[in-house]
């Protein structure tokens, strides 16, 4: 602890105020892993986004996270359960219900078999359902984890938990931690970009990509499909790019005069941030314009320029990592297939969601691979929890649907350091609980950080007297997932 009685800029740089003193522009920024005498954080410079070397050689540089908000049904898409089909329509065995909390299921529900056919595909023999014809074509590229579980069974808390490692708002998102730890490689774009399609924003709201107690420079920036791609990036009506340049030149000069006598380093930072803003005015529209992509590319993804769609966002994700953006997260909401009416059952709504996402997700993997980007990019696909093997039947609804299920669900991932073609974990005969190789949300986070070259126990931030981590006090790297 420093003794503020003796201020000496050389000797009295304490471990905890060190970065505050050098990182003028970024408030309380401090990679406090320096507390553990790691050389890692000492690369910190005045620019919060400057690329930083990982703690150890990384397998991946970038992440594309396809977040299926609302929670897709694993037993209809990934986790084939012939026994469940056999018991379709039978009352659920009592021991499955004992001590369990459900969001909407009341009393004794009936088991619900999957109406979809499964098939083993590729050399790896990944077992996927007919809902995913396109994913089948890249089955050997992906690792399917059928043994995920979470602690939350309502959308907002579970989405926050999946993104921040904590069920309440206010903690930094995974993408914020990643950019805080590694910076980013494109200085004309933010390091953490969020793209949204589907029926609305995710239930967890903007806290899903919030920076929590980390400096706000690390929060996810939403690139919008309609209107301005980034808020306020367009010049106002009547202001041409040349006029903007003229005014920025004057602003630059006037702020420079102020700097001369105030000697406040913040002014210097501000001058450079206005320049970056100007560059973003060119780089963002250029990035968002997919019209110049080849016909083959558009066909592969199913993209239509100008549309708000998951396909367009997948293509944008590729363009973003191509440009060195560290963390790209796509949200597609609408997987909440309770079966309380026709619009959210597993016969119609689930199929519709798969049609909206399957082709583009598979195209993204192929496209990354053909461009040599898959090796250095982790692609993750998944929701916030799974769905019950039982029919929900809320209020006697005739539409087949499944309630929220935190005990067991499926995610897949591919690329940068992930073992391709892997099938990890298993669930019981009806897909209710995990029986092999359980993977928790914290384990997932620890593993992904590991692939990015970061020890999850050392990426910390001192806040309210405590060193916080993405994985809180939990998490183990899932070795079996690593290539």
């Amino acid at each position: 602890m420093s003794n503020p009685e003796h201020i000496n800029p050389l000797l009295d740089l304490t471990r905890r105020t060190f970065f505050k003193q050098v990182g003028y522009g970024i408030g309380g920024l401090a990679l406090s892993s320096l507390l553990a005498q790691s050389v890692y954080a000492q690369q910190e410079t005045r620019d919060p986004f400057s690329p930083r070397k990982p703690m150890f050689p990384a397998k991946a540089k970038n992440v594309i996270y396809l977040f299926m908000a609302g929670a897709p049904s694993q037993v209809d898409m990934f986790d084939y359960k012939p026994t469940l089909n056999k018991f379709d329509g039978q009352p659920c065995p009592g021991d499955l219900l004992k001590g369990e909390q459900f969001a909407f299921i009341k009393g004794t529900p009936k088991m619900l078999g999957s109406p979809y056919k499964f098939e083993k595909v590729g050399q790896s023999g990944q077992e996927l359902s007919e809902l995913l014809p396109h994913l089948k074509t890249v089955a050997d590229e992906i690792a399917v984890v059928r043994s995920m579980s979470t602690e939350q069974f309502n959308h907002a808390p579970a989405q926050l938990f999946m993104n921040t490692g904590f069920q309440l708002p206010g903690r930094p998102a995974f993408g914020s931690w990643a950019t805080y730890g590694l910076g980013t490689e494109n200085h004309d774009l933010p390091g953490f970009v969020v793209l949204i399609s589907g029926d609305s924003n995710p239930d967890g709201g903007k806290s899903c990509w919030g920076s929590g107690f980390l400096p706000t420079v690390y929060q996810g920036v939403e690139f919008r499909s309609q209107g301005e791609p980034v808020l306020f990036v367009d010049n106002p009506d009547g202001v041409g790019s040349d006029v903007r340049r003229d005014t920025l030149d004057a602003l630059h000069d006037l702020n420079g005069m102020q700097l001369k006598h105030a000697l406040d380093p913040e002014i210097e930072t501000r001058i450079s941030q206005y320049e970056l803003a100007y560059r973003m005015q060119t780089s963002v529209p250029e990035l968002m314009d997919i019209s110049k992509e080849s016909k083959e590319t558009h066909e592969m993804y199913g993209t239509e320029p100008g549309k708000k769609s998951f396909a367009n966002n997948c293509l944008l994700a590729r363009r973003l990592v191509e440009r060195g953006v560290r963390f790209v997260q796509l949200y597609h909401r609408g997987w909440d297939t309770h079966g309380s009416d026709e619009g959210n059952d597993i016969k119609h709504a689930l199929k519709d969601r798969c049609v909206e996402t399957d082709k583009a997700a598979a195209a993204l993997l192929k496209d990354l691979k053909q461009r040599g980007l898959l090796d250095e990019t982790i692609v993750i696909w998944g929701g916030e929890f799974g769905r019950t093997p039982m029919n929900e039947g809320r209020g006697g609804s005739p539409w087949p649907g499944r309630d929220h299920h935190p005990r067991a669900f499926t995610m897949w991932m591919a690329g940068g350091g992930i073992k391709p073609g892997l099938s990890l974990g298993a669930t019981d005969d009806v897909g209710y609980g995990v029986t092999e190789d359980p993977v928790s949300v914290h384990d997932l986070h620890a593993t992904l950080l590991h692939l990015l070259g970061i020890d999850h126990t050392k990426l910390t931030y001192l806040y309210q007297g405590r060193n916080f981590r993405l994985t809180d006090v939990y998490g183990n790297v899932v070795q079996k997932l690593l290539a």
Binding site: N3, K106, G170, N201, K206, G238, T247, M257, R270, Y274
Partner: protein, 1008 residues
């Protein structure tokens, strides 16, 4: 011990320290008698400053706990800490000198040679503990009023300066010169009311040569009603005030009564102890007023999880925990939340302490609502109406009126008997209806009315959402006592009508009858059918919310009979107006016919058969008699008119009640025994272990009440022996002015927080604050009156190198403003600001598509009438989608209590301040102010500068802006269309963009 050995060690120390001279030590050490060193007064402060942050608490490094004498005597994993009387053989000295092992403090410069010598002497003297509590963390020991340094300097205006200057002198630094008058008035104005000064205010102050000119400005600003707005802004972050619930749907709530309470409390200079008690326990105060209850909105500002399927008991417990944690943060500067799952790792708070605090809050009223069986139960909390004095008076008046009208009806029982008897005769008279074929029938909003020979009237053609019919009925042949309206079917309407709505319904909201141009009173009506929740009689008094409607009765004809208040003589010219003004579109009568009668009871034609049977019966029992009497009263013109008066008054009352704003309040359940709570193992809601009574953390002074509730907790927080409350609050106030608290971690006064830069000053301010009755304006005044505050913020290279963070305060504060202030500066500089204080939150311009919560459907509707230009504090605060430019400038989501906003400097801020439509509107308005100020380019530029930064530009600045102006003007002269988009001519466009530059100056958004 041998002197030689020890001298050798000191040489080594000298080498380590570098700057220290070993000889000074040798000479000090040659003093033959070892002076007595006090552990409490001398050693403990050194350990506390350098060692205890790692070596204390549950996770003490090396298992060495220096926070207690026991821990020190015990030592850690490396063994005993010291050998009394033998420093050479003491691990402590070896570590501090870096001999044979890790050098302490780890990774830090070694202790000063004086400190080392002192520790050494203490061990030599036997390592005696003269104080068992000396190692108690400073913040948990109550402050004692320190002696103000006597410096005999003209720079010292008040004790603040004395403490600051004493420290500067010690460091060999001098204060900076006083800032310019322009800078001072801007700084004061921004700090005290959150708005920049007007050009006139700047000029007045610059020209005021009186010795108390500065003080006059201070007092004017402290008395301004905008003072409360400025002060409240920060408190609302602490109170996590927002206008929505948070979580998934993030629905709107009405919370602004609390926000206004805070603003008013600051404006009235409510003492901080009262301010505290009212917010935590206003509902429990003796003779609690409505405003005391509004204050508990502080506690109600918690988020509320209304997502379907959420276990509401658990969700409510999260709310309760947030309340306890927020209290600890706001008043105790303590990270109590760390003790939710286990004892605090660094500070002396146990998990039991945590749940003892939670117990205070888990006894408030909840109101479960909605069906639990389908997962849609919601635990709501109380809301109460808060009428203004005018509304309260009106409410009293209406209640009185209703009571007197009702009693008027009851008191006419005697006469009632006569009327009842007369009616029994009249009601048996046949009713003959005389069809009135209108001479003229017109529709106000464009529908076409056709009159057929049988007197039926049919609407066709345009079908507007609202429509009124005006019928000239001709002359009545006999005395008029009643009116009949037939609503008829027609295949041209959906479901055959009788209405023109898309389901065939109508809502007749008003009927007016005129005889020879004079209105005829319509007393009472009866219909064959009226849909439930609607009251046909409301059409007689013109209530747009109700009237005659026939849902579930479409496709069939219906009729309505009306009795007039007093008969209209034969031969009068009749006119009938039928209005359809409900909120339901196109609910307009499609086909209808009007008839009149002279029958004594016109409503008799619609008398139900069972009533008619009763009327004809000669022997009625009591029950039957009551039934008939009730029917009579409901159809009697006399009673009908009276009852309608009652209804009208009741409707006025309900309209008034709907206008009265609601406030969210906390209410206590009437529990008898002590308030208790379960300790939850690892913080898990379902794992209950020990039960604890409500109480305060054991490291702090005890709460001496057998059965303590929130009121006791609140009073305990502001008791004078509480070591934290006053320090924490004066520190936050200090932070507002200097950009950094005396304790930088204003949210954490624990061992992991930063120690105070000026501990005596902090204690002096805290003691003074309490001594002066927790007077908030007095503290603020003291700070701005100091010389410390009045210094120029310009740095020098030496100063920057010496003290980059300005911890020593050798210069004035300079830092970027908070989001709301940037918003307000643009409004004030451009003259757009609406100075209105308080009321519902407003919706300034915001880009489309920001609000998009699932299952919500709520939309941002931009405010009008100047409300779009209200101060930032009034901007509607949606937790999941904050106002974008606020978010860019580091405003928090208000999801939980935030003490300190981090200040960032990002390109998104630049984009927002350059391109937001809000800023462009301000740029245009500022341009107008500039263009009309004086006649030259220079006077225009001067005006803009003064409005934004309260000073005239320097020649170089004028020159640069003139060049920009010339350039932009020539550009826009060639682009008239673009110029028009910026508000007019090429000249206007150039000034707009110049104003845009001024609003983006670093100086404009910086408090310097």
């Amino acid at each position: 011990m041998g002197k030689g050995a020890s001298a050798k060690s000191w040489v080594k120390v000298g080498m380590v320290v570098g700057a220290a001279t070993p000889f000074a030590f040798l000479s000090a050490n040659q003093n033959s008698s070892v002076p007595q060193v006090s552990f409490g007064r001398q050693v403990a402060p050194v350990f506390k400053a350098h060692c205890i942050s790692c070596h204390s608490g549950k996770s003490a490094a090396g298992k060495l706990d220096l926070s207690t004498a026991t821990g020190m005597k015990k030592g850690g994993v490396s063994g005993a800490l010291f050998k009394a009387g033998d420093p050479k053989d003491s691990l402590l000295m070896k570590r501090l000198m870096g001999i044979g092992g890790a050098s302490m403090p780890m990774g830090m410069p070694p202790l000063s040679h004086e400190d080392l010598a002192m520790v050494r002497q203490w061990i030599e003297g036997g390592a005696k503990f003269d104080s068992e509590t000396a190692m108690k963390h400073w913040a948990y020991v109550a402050p004692v009023m320190p002696k103000v340094p006597n410096l005999n300097s003209s720079w010292v205006r008040n004790p603040i300066d004395a403490f600051v200057l004493a420290k500067l002198k010690k460091e060999g630094l001098r204060p900076s010169p006083e800032a310019s008058k322009e800078t001072l008035i801007r700084r004061l104005s921004l700090d005290l009311i959150g708005l920049p000064p007007t050009p006139a205010e700047v000029s007045d102050f610059v020209h005021d040569k009186s010795p108390n000119a500065y003080e006059k400005v201070v007092d004017r600003l402290l008395a301004s009603p905008h003072y409360g707005e400025r002060q409240a802004r920060e408190w609302l972050d602490l109170a996590r005030y927002a206008d929505t619930d948070g979580y998934e749907k993030d629905l709107n709530r009405t919370a602004w009564e609390y926000r206004d309470w805070v603003i008013n409390a600051y404006n009235r200079n409510m003492p901080y102890d009262q301010f505290t008690v009212e917010q935590i326990a206003g509902d429990l105060m003796p003779n609690s007023t409505l405003q005391d209850k509004v204050a508990t909105g502080f506690e109600r500002n918690t988020m509320q999880n209304l997502e379907g399927g959420v276990n509401q008991e658990e969700a409510h417990f999260a709310v309760v925990e947030d309340r306890a944690e927020t209290t600890a943060t706001v008043w105790l500067g303590t990270t109590l939340m760390c003790a939710r799952c286990h004892d605090h790792k660094y500070d002396p708070f146990t998990q039991k302490d945590y749940y003892k605090m939670v117990a205070f809050y888990n006894n408030s009223v909840v109101l479960p609502e909605g069906p639990k069986d389908i997962g849609e139960e919601k635990w709501l909390e109380p809301r109460i109406p808060i009428p203004t004095p005018t509304q309260e008076a009106e409410k009293q008046r209406l209640n009185g009126e209703i009571a007197s009208l009702k009693s008027g009806i009851e008191s006419s029982v005697g006469q009632a008997d006569q009327r009842y008897k007369a009616w029994q005769v009249a009601a048996l008279q046949p009713v003959t209806w005389d069809v009135m074929k209108p001479e003229k029938a017109s529709a106000q909003n464009g529908a076409t009315l056709k009159v057929a020979d049988d007197g039926t009237i049919t609407a066709s053609g345009a079908n507007p959402d609202r429509e009124n019919y005006d019928l000239s009925l001709g002359t009545s042949k006999s005395e008029l006592r009643g009116l009949r309206l037939e609503a008829l079917t027609d295949p041209s309407f959906v479901n055959n009508g009788p209405g023109r709505a898309d389901n065939g319904n109508f809502v007749l909201t008003n009927i007016e009858l005129f005889a020879d141009g004079k209105p005829v009173g319509l007393a009472v009506s009866k219909t064959d059918y009226t849909q439930s929740d609607f009251d046909a009689d409301e059409a007689l008094v013109g209530n747009k919310e109700s009237g005659w409607a026939v849902n579930d009765g479409m496709g069939k004809p219906h009729e309505m009979a009306i009795a007039v208040s007093s008969p209209v003589p034969a031969g009068a010219k009749l006119r009938l107006v039928l209005e359809h003004q409900s909120r339901f579109a196109k609910h307009v009568l499609g086909k209808f016919r009007v008839s009149v009668t002279d029958a004594p009871d016109p409503l008799a034609s619609l008398m139900p058969a069972d009533v008619k049977a009763l009327l004809k019966s000669t022997s009625r029992d009591k029950k039957q008699e009551d039934q008939l009497l009730a029917y009579f009263r409901s159809t009697s013109p006399f009673y009908g008119a009276k009852m309608r008066e009652v209804k009208r008054a009741e409707r006025e009352l309900s309209d008034l009640n709907n206008q009265i704003p609601m406030a969210m309040v906390l209410q206590e359940k009437p529990t008898k025994g002590p308030l208790t709570e379960w300790v939850r193992h690892r913080g898990e809601f379902t794992s209950k272990t020990d039960e604890v009574n409500a109480g305060t953390p054991s490291v702090l002074p005890p709460l001496k009440t057998a059965r303590a509730d929130r009121l006791d907790l609140a009073k305990w927080l502001v008791s004078k022996n509480n070591p934290l409350t006053a320090r924490v609050e004066v520190n936050r106030i200090w932070e507002r002015y200097f950009g950094r608290g005396i304790v930088e971690t204003s949210e954490d006064f624990g061992t992991r927080g930063t120690p105070p830069t000026h501990p005596e000053l902090l204690d002096w301010l805290a003691c003074e604050f309490m001594a002066k009755g927790w007077d908030m304006k007095a503290v603020n005044r003291m700070i701005v009156m100091s010389s410390t505050y009045r210094q120029s913020s310009d740095a020098t290279p030496t100063l920057l190198a010496r003290d980059p963070q300005n911890l020593l305060l050798a210069r004035g504060p300079r830092f970027r403003m908070e989001a709301e202030m940037i918003h307000d500066v643009a409004l004030q500089a451009s003259g757009l600001l609406s100075p209105k204080i308080g009321g519902p939150s407003v919706f300034p311009y915001q880009p489309d598509g920001i609000w998009d919560s699932p299952y919500s459907g709520q939309r941002w509707m931009p405010s009008t009438n100047g409300d779009q230009y209200r101060r930032g504090i009034y901007t509607f605060w949606k937790r999941t989608a904050p106002y974008p430019s606020f978010e860019a400038f580091d405003a928090t989501s208000r999801e939980s209590c935030t003490v300190r906003r981090i200040r960032t400097n990002t390109p998104l801020q630049a984009l927002a301040q350059l391109n937001d439509k809000f800023i462009m509107l301000a740029s245009q308005a500022l341009a107008k102010k500039m263009e009309t100020a004086g006649k030259t380019t220079e006077t225009h530029i001067d005006e803009g500068f003064v409005r934004c930064v309260a000073r005239k530009p320097k020649p170089a600045e004028v020159k640069r802006l003139e060049a920009l102006y010339a350039q932009l003007k020539s550009v826009y002269a060639k682009r008239p269309k673009e110029a028009a988009k910026l508000g007019g001519t090429a000249d206007d466009a150039a000034w707009t963009m110049l104003a845009n530059v001024l609003l983006n100056l670093d100086e404009t958004i910086t408090k310097g």
